[in-house]
């Protein structure tokens, strides 16, 4: 007992002496990622091959991840920020540059993922999954054609709409109807958006970012503006009943990436994990469980025809897609506008 205790003390002293850089050694990898996003089979496969044990801790929003990372309460080797958060983290020097020599499988990532404004050369982040935010229509209940945000937010659909409970999302939809992109979040434009949202929000029945498909499946609403992964599941479960439409005004495309935060104890292991995930057969497993758009073109070739034909995962045609940009302190104004209008429209 005493011996164990003194060993622990000795180990702690050693840890303190060596600093955090060598604590984990080659045995452990701390992955901090979105919930419902990394299949257990991928973690098991990685551990089997490399002997590195992956500790998968989850979050539900980019901001939650930042909050934990900034508090310094735990040290992570890998995080999974979305594009606008990558941009903010690079600006604040919170990410380590990636050694591309250690990532031979990076070649599998599609060309279109290079040149994005948040990290044009993928110096700091490697796309993990990509998705869109689009409109789900219950075609049994809604007969009129729905092509954009304007068609959804009509008086006749009052109380039949679910949207993401996300201030920035909703504000950018309204911006899109004015022909403005998601980078146009300024004080003046927020004032232009206010009357539009004041008209839209009273029509909404449910705000849900976690599982917006539930209200659609339960029949409580007939229209939704939701994550494509959620939509893909609806399309798969009830084929023919639900349709996925990318708004003609322009849709939000998000790219969730793997990145290594500054101070990561196990950089080598993190790079190994990224490269492992980039393998076509591994990436394919992720698509199977979480049917977002796979940025890995080699993995796409391994998908079934049904998976490839799912319009929510792989939208046909050439839709207008835009990524979010870091809007800095404007975030607080966006949040306040949304809070205000929501409070006024709710009962």
């Amino acid at each position: 007992m005493i011996r164990t205790a003194s060993r622990i003390l000795a180990a702690l002293a050693l840890v303190a002496a060596l600093g955090p850089a060598r604590v984990a050694g080659a045995e452990e990898l701390n992955l901090f990622a979105w919930s419902e996003y990394v299949p257990q089979s991928v973690l098991d496969g990685f551990q089997k091959e490399t002997g590195i044990q992956v500790n998968y801790e989850t979050y539900a929003s980019n901001e939650e991840m930042l909050a934990k990372l900034l508090s310094g309460a735990a040290s992570y080797d890998l995080v999974q920020p979305s594009e606008y958060t990558v941009e903010a983290m690079v600006k604040e020097k919170l990410l380590l540059p990636l050694d591309h020599a250690k990532l031979p499988n990076l070649k599998n990532i599609g060309k279109e993922y290079y040149g994005q404004p948040y990290d044009p050369k993928l110096e700091y982040s490697v796309p993990y999954m990509q998705g869109t935010v689009g409109i789900v229509v219950n075609t049994e209940k809604v007969k009129d054609p729905i092509t954009g945000y304007g068609d959804v937010f009509q008086e006749k659909y009052k109380g039949r709409i679910v949207v993401l409970d996300d201030a920035l999302e909703i504000v950018t939809w309204a911006l899109a109807t004015l022909g403005l992109g998601p980078d146009a979040v300024t004080k003046e434009n927020l004032e232009k958006v206010r009357p539009i949202l004041a008209k839209w929000l009273p029509l909404v029945k449910v705000y849900d970012s976690d599982s917006p498909k539930t209200a659609l499946l339960n029949g409580d609403v007939d229209l939704g503006i939701v994550w494509s992964g959620e939509a893909a599941i609806l399309l798969k479960e009830e084929p023919g009943k639900f349709k996925y439409v990318l708004p003609k005004e322009g849709a939000h495309m998000f790219i969730d990436s793997l990145a290594i935060p500054k101070g990561a104890p196990n950089v080598a292991g993190a790079l190994k994990f990224i490269d492992y995930v980039l393998r076509p057969e591994v990436s394919r497993k992720i698509s199977e469980e979480f049917p977002y758009t796979n940025p890995n073109v080699e993995a796409r070739k391994l998908l079934t025809k049904e998976e490839r034909d799912n319009a929510a995962s792989y939208p046909p045609g050439n839709p207008k897609l835009e990524t979010f940009r870091d809007i800095g302190p404007m975030a607080a104004d966006v949040d306040k506008l949304f809070t205000d209008l929501k409070a006024k429209s709710g009962s």
Partner: protein, 296 residues
């Protein structure tokens, strides 16, 4: 008798400072309270005067801007609404919970434990799962609607889920046991002879209830009111799940400052501090009322 009913704030027995041994015994509790109650509150207070960091977090400094933000009508309206919801919930819990607590407290000892168990059984299941169960009950193709449709009571499914009514149902369901249990513990101690005396001396049942039973059980009522009102003011999960996120409560707003788009920790801390002060005031008021009631 008096001593026992003077309330949950008054200590029984003569007051004297604890000796060395007493302090040693108290030490773990004091340490715990300092580490997990005082320290976080102090950090929150400090944050509430700081500036906002770009990615969240705080930049040290001193500003009253965050408190000015709390006073903004946008947020005051939400604070007010949260208070209204919490008050309605407390009132319903009191009216519905008191008779139940009274019956359990006066029930035969054999039944008492069984009935108490009935009140506590729901706690064995996660609160979130129980709240999601209400979704199944209330949704438009749900249990209640199918029942009503089958019985021919309605022709069209009623809109129950994602309404303010659903939020109140969820809140009352969640907090009812917190009202029943403290009142029960007061009722259990109630001396039946006092009620008989009141009736013998000419008080009708209503009068005996309002002048004897209520004052004697007032510690339980006060504790129940606090145990329901305070958490009901801060809770946001019920609101999200059963209200469809349409009516923001103060808890939603605070969460958003840390985990949502806003990334405004100091403002969240200022809201939290304001709520803490509000709780302290409610606590002081309720314990004073309760003492007045008991001594009347």
């Amino acid at each position: 008798m008096r001593q026992e009913t003077t309330g949950f704030t008054a200590a029984a027995g003569p007051q004297r400072p604890p000796g060395t041994a007493g302090w040693l015994l108290l030490a773990p509790l004091i340490l715990w309270a300092v580490a997990f109650v005082v320290a976080p509150a102090v950090i929150m207070l400090g944050y509430s005067f700081a500036h906002r960091g770009t990615l969240g977090g705080v930049v040290p400094g001193f500003t009253l801007e965050n408190y000015a933000g709390v006073a903004d009508p946008v947020y005051l309206r939400i604070v007010w609404r949260s208070i209204v919801y919490a008050a309605i919930t407390t009132a319903i819990c009191l009216v519905a919970g008191y008779p139940v607590a009274y019956l359990i407290g006066r029930a035969d000892a054999r039944w008492r434990n069984l009935l108490l168990m009935g009140v506590m059984v729901p706690f064995w299941t996660s609160f979130l799962i129980r709240t999601y169960a209400w979704v199944t009950i209330l949704k438009s193709e749900g249990l209640l609607n199918s029942l009503f449709l089958q019985l021919g009571m309605i022709g069209q499914p009623l809109e129950m889920l994602y309404t303010p009514g659903a939020v109140v149902v969820g809140l009352v369901y969640t907090f009812l046991p917190f009202m029943i249990l403290p009142i029960y513990s007061s009722v259990e101690k109630l001396d039946g002879a006092l009620i008989e005396a009141a009736l013998d001396l000419g008080a009708g049942p209503m009068r005996a209830f309002s002048r004897v039973i209520v004052p004697l059980t007032s510690p339980g009522i006060a504790a129940g009111v606090l145990l329901v009102f305070v958490p009901a003011l801060g809770i946001y999960a019920v609101n999200d799940i059963l209200g469809g996120g349409r009516v923001d409560m103060i808890g939603n707003i605070i969460e958003n400052q840390f985990k949502g788009n806003a990334r405004n920790w100091p403002f969240g801390a200022a809201l939290g501090t304001t709520l803490l002060v509000a709780f302290a005031l409610v606590y002081a008021w309720v314990s004073r009322r309760q003492r007045e009631l008991a001594f009347r």
